[in-house]
């Protein structure tokens, strides 16, 4: 007698990633309701969650949450595999790549604000690169670059400050990675 039930063992990590991804997706949906003067200028609230995950559970978990956010956000907003979805994916990809390098910056001198600003620039950079290659002639984008860069700087800073505040007030969980404990306890 063989069992026909496929068992998928669910670890605590999976549950945590699912919970955090749900949070990021919620913020993505809330943000989609905000009016924006220029398409592409958004606060990027979900990046707050991504950064918190990166700082508390490491880059791999952050990549999972980010990927799930892009995919499920696309599903829920009805833009799955539409241009907006690919732009979102490109932004998330470059942003994660930047974070993969930026997380090695010394914690003593570089806090969440640095990571957030770098990730924001990566995000808009990835999106604009794809737009330039795929959707619009690059010459038309040049006049918009200062707008996007300013938005990245401002929202990146604000999100970073929010992350900094949240890390300062939250008590570290026991399953945090050790470098995080070092990062939160220093300074």
């Amino acid at each position: 007698m063989t069992r026909s039930v496929i068992e998928l063992p669910v670890h605590a990590d999976d549950r945590r990633i699912a919970r955090l991804a749900a949070l990021a997706i919620g913020l993505t949906l809330a943000e989609a309701a905000l009016p924006s003067p220029v398409p592409g200028v958004k606060p990027g609230l979900a990046n707050i969650v991504i950064l918190l995950v990166l700082l508390q559970y490491g880059w791999r978990a952050a990549a999972w949450v980010s990927g799930l956010r892009v995919l499920a956000g696309g599903l829920l907003l009805g833009s799955l595999f539409a241009p907006g979805f690919w732009l979102s994916a490109a932004g998330a990809l470059v942003s994660l790549s930047v974070l993969a390098l930026a997380r090695y910056l010394p914690r003593r001198h570089f806090g969440p604000v640095s990571l957030s600003v770098l990730a924001a620039f990566g995000h808009i950079g990835g999106q604009l690169a794809l737009v330039g290659i795929w959707l619009l002639p690059a010459a038309a984008l040049i006049k918009l670059l200062p707008v996007f860069a300013t938005a990245a700087l401002v929202f990146g800073t604000v999100n970073g400050l929010i992350v900094m505040r949240m890390l300062a007030t939250s008590t570290p969980e026991p399953n945090m990675s050790p470098d995080i404990l070092a990062g939160t306890r220093k300074g």
């Binding site: 006049k143 990146g156 306890r185 300074g187």
Partner: protein, 121 residues
């Protein structure tokens, strides 16, 4: 943890610098580097916009005085009755031009890229 660290300030300043540089690059326009002076439709002088110089160009009504300073140029004096080209003041951007039609003298700024293929007066 609740304060910005030195590296954060560095990143913010670098980001601010990037924004300023992008703004200047994308919105700054093309500063000209050459002055072209025409009289009666023919180019009589092509000068660099780098050094201060003055030119006196003769036309049917008299002499038009052109003044060049580093980065800008203007018609300083002109015998035309309405003084339109003098009132235009200093020209800096590539493609800008001041025309003294009664005296048939024109002053045009050129840069690396020209905004127009040609202008007919």
């Amino acid at each position: 943890m609740t304060t910005l660290r030195a590296g954060d300030l560095g990143v913010l300043l670098t980001g601010g610098g990037l924004v300023v540089a992008l703004t200047i690059w994308a919105w700054g326009g093309d500063h000209g580097d050459t002055v072209v002076i025409r009289a009666a439709g023919r180019v009589v002088e092509t000068a660099s916009l780098a050094q201060a110089r003055t030119f006196a160009v003769a036309g049917p009504l008299g002499t038009t005085h052109i003044e060049i300073e580093p980065g800008r140029a203007r018609i300083a004096r002109d015998p035309s009755p309405r003084q339109l080209c003098v009132k235009q003041g200093w020209l800096t951007q590539s493609g800008q031009a001041a025309l003294c039609l009664p005296n048939q003298v024109s002053l045009e700024i050129r840069g690396r890229t020209t905004a127009y293929d040609t202008l007919g007066y």
